[in-house]
Symmetry: C4
Subunit: 266 residues, 4 copies
């Protein structure tokens, strides 16, 4: 009898073990190394696709600690390696207590992660095509489903409002907090005389949004030139329904990365 | 005597066999594998030339069964391989009876092949340059002989007309049928807030038409900016006469494909 | 004595032989093979720089026979090899008397060489940026010294004038002769609904002129958008003085050609 | 005792030697070879990034002699090698007393170095995007922090003013001096019907300024089209504060250079 019970239990255990991956409720968090490697890839993709120039950056919230984020501390995005990635806290200080260091504008990331528990990835870019909109107050509107998130509205943040004459950078916590307040719940904001910030619930999404924010700007500019004010944009409800995940784009952009020495933006 | 007749017949047979390729009335249909391989090449060409982004697709009517078409079921066009190609019926279901799967918008292809017996290849793209036209109602017109087919007229299909607020995709049969009805007998239609579809009697032709639809849009935009309404387009009769076959373009684009890892669109 | 004279003569001969390259009055004509190889390179340069698409061509007057020209008979410019080059007469027939064959538009070349004894190289292109000018009658004007030759004036030829509804091609001698008459003594003419032709006294020059004709069109378009009619172009006398030879450009473009499989235009 | 003193001194010397790099007050001047190698790299970067075409050039003031500068004497920037670099004096004559030779426009460099003791590097380019501004008198204004130096004002120099009809080149000392006078203390000037000159206190800075001068022009053009006169540029004080050093850009551009045969501008 005991033998039979033991056999049954043994067989049941084997069945459970075999079925375990199917039964798991939530995926295990990405390992720190895997997260860092993907972040490096995202840097390279954004440089290769002309979204990030030598300056600008991309970060992710740490999978291991919600109150930290991972961001390169130095270097052009095209050249970032895993060794450049530093873990920061909400104050944009290295989480290991070492002296404050890194990109002057790491405060963009720190303050956005602090203000937005839903945000898991942030891009700061000088994407060229948005500058005409950032500097004229003409509102970005979604031209198509690939830039659906623009339907949320894209506010323009101007350092001058509240901070007077600056060097245009978001280089301290007060500026970062003001930017987060202006962004509110939305995906993206433009920075007058500077560029843009983009947020998303994942790294692949933030890369796709940054790319299509930039492309949408150029297409909207052309549409407005073609027909004055009479352009049909996505309706707000259409924009919400048209949400994309950009996974296929990520795969193609990753495969397009040059092997060996990275290529810069064109 | 019999020997002589037999000899004459034998010689005549040999002559006929040798001359057969010259004498054949219709070319043998392309083999399924050759068709699939060319379709994969077309995917890569359209990605490399910036016509297809990570999304969008190209298909061909099956050479073996007129009522079926071949289309990748997953993946960015730049990365499609022969293993991704699935054979579908007019209902955009896998022809082998397995469960429905594939691109959400395979219905574009299924309904166009159903409605258009003359169409042998279809492209669905988010070609950037056409979006300003798709969203303003400004009619595309043929700027030159390379985009001769635009002379047929390029209607604009809008999901909103008949279907209210959608996610902008052609993701079911009713939407696909409405699109086919709007397209009528023409080569191409624009999709408001989305992109375009292009049809042709062959794969090489559909690739060329998609490329030149996109380029024509940009050149027409520039011409209209240069001289307001006073642009001379191809006359309808000129457009009909100017029909191209794009074979030289196909050869050049194919030779331009990167070896090894495919390059994405720029 | 005889020995001394012989010695003197021998030494003199050696001196003359050594000095011969310096003393020659006119350079020996380029060998046929060298001319063909350079023509193939020109095809590849023009494709790689986006001046020629899969269609369009470049030719040179034969160094061995002024009444003949060398032109590829088939294939996209990116893929042309020495084996494709055919020698034609002014009637655009193969000079070796074989049956008429080659590009439909070889008559552009034949008639231009016939009409213009000064012309040693011809390009026919569908250079995109000139199309808005070709279709609007807005006159191309020289924006800078690199496109100095535009100061001669760039007439627009339209098949419709004299030939009614055509397929837009210059595909016979009468059309070619009419084009040559419209071009007159100038470097370049635009073809309404089609593209352009460019002529020059050398191959390197015609390649440079074609490239800068295309670029000048885009820059002039932008200048006109920026300031309406108030654009300062090169004065006719400045344009004449600003003549370039494009040798450094040729060297750079040649070095930029991809090794192995040719890259197509972007 | 003497032994102890000697020991202490020896140890102290070793400590000082070890600490020497940290203690040095001013960096040793760059070696001539290192300066030449970096200048060659700058040539290649500017060609690869589309700032310099086959013509145009970049120079540096000699680290070994303030009254001399280093500039290639021949060749397209994409193809310049160390062997092409010549050392010139303020009269744009080779400093070693050999016969005058080199680029026709070396006088741009000679006269700018003579007039501007602060300038350590000069670029002369035909950067396409500035031509519409150079030819219309529309003032370039800084769109963002990356082109902060435009806030100094960018004058337009026209050979015609004082020199009548010329070939548009700055090909002698009087023209070079007039250009230097027009430039004054600023970073950059446009040349009507020609291009631009850019100056900076270092090579990396002049490369960055030339790149962003060109990009700013295109973005400003688009902004002006979007909103007429109502564009917000950097305030003069913002521009001064926003000074960049472009080091990260230099690193990315250098890493992007093709290995082997150099790529030309696109």
């Amino acid at each position: 009898m005991a033998l039979r019970v033991a056999s049954v239990l043994a067989v049941a255990s084997l069945i459970c073990l075999a079925a375990a991956p199917v039964r798991s409720q939530a995926p295990a968090p990405q390992s720190r190394q895997a997260a860092i490697d993907e972040l490096v890839t995202a840097n390279h993709i954004l440089a290769n696709e002309g979204v990030l120039d030598g300056y600008g950056h991309v970060s992710i919230r740490s999978p291991q600690n919600r109150d930290h984020f991972l961001l390169a501390s130095a270097g052009a995005p095209a050249l970032v390696t895993a060794a450049n990635i530093v873990e920061y806290d909400y104050d944009s200080k290295p989480a290991d207590g070492s002296a404050a260091m890194g990109y002057l504008e790491r405060f963009i990331h720190g303050e956005l992660y602090r203000a937005r528990p839903d945000v898991m990835a942030v891009v700061h870019c000088h994407c060229p095509e948005v500058l005409p909109f950032a500097n004229t107050g003409v509102a970005l509107r979604p031209m198509y489903h690939m830039s659906w998130f623009i339907g949320e509205g894209v506010p323009v943040f101007d350092n001058r409002t509240g901070f007077g004459i600056t060097d245009m950078l978001i280089s301290n916590a007060p500026l970062g907090k003001a930017l987060a307040a202006a962004l509110g719940n939305r995906s993206a904001a433009l920075l007058r005389g500077h560029g843009a910030v983009v947020t998303a619930p994942s790294l692949h999404l933030v890369v796709g949004k940054a790319y299509y924010l930039n492309l949408n700007a150029r297409l909207q500019y052309q549409a407005m030139q073609l027909a004055g004010g009479k352009v049909t944009y996505l309706d707000t409800a259409e924009a919400r329904k048209a949400e994309q995940n950009y996974e296929r784009s990520w795969d193609a952009w990753k495969a397009a990365l040059p092997t060996g020495a990275p290529a810069g933006p064109r």
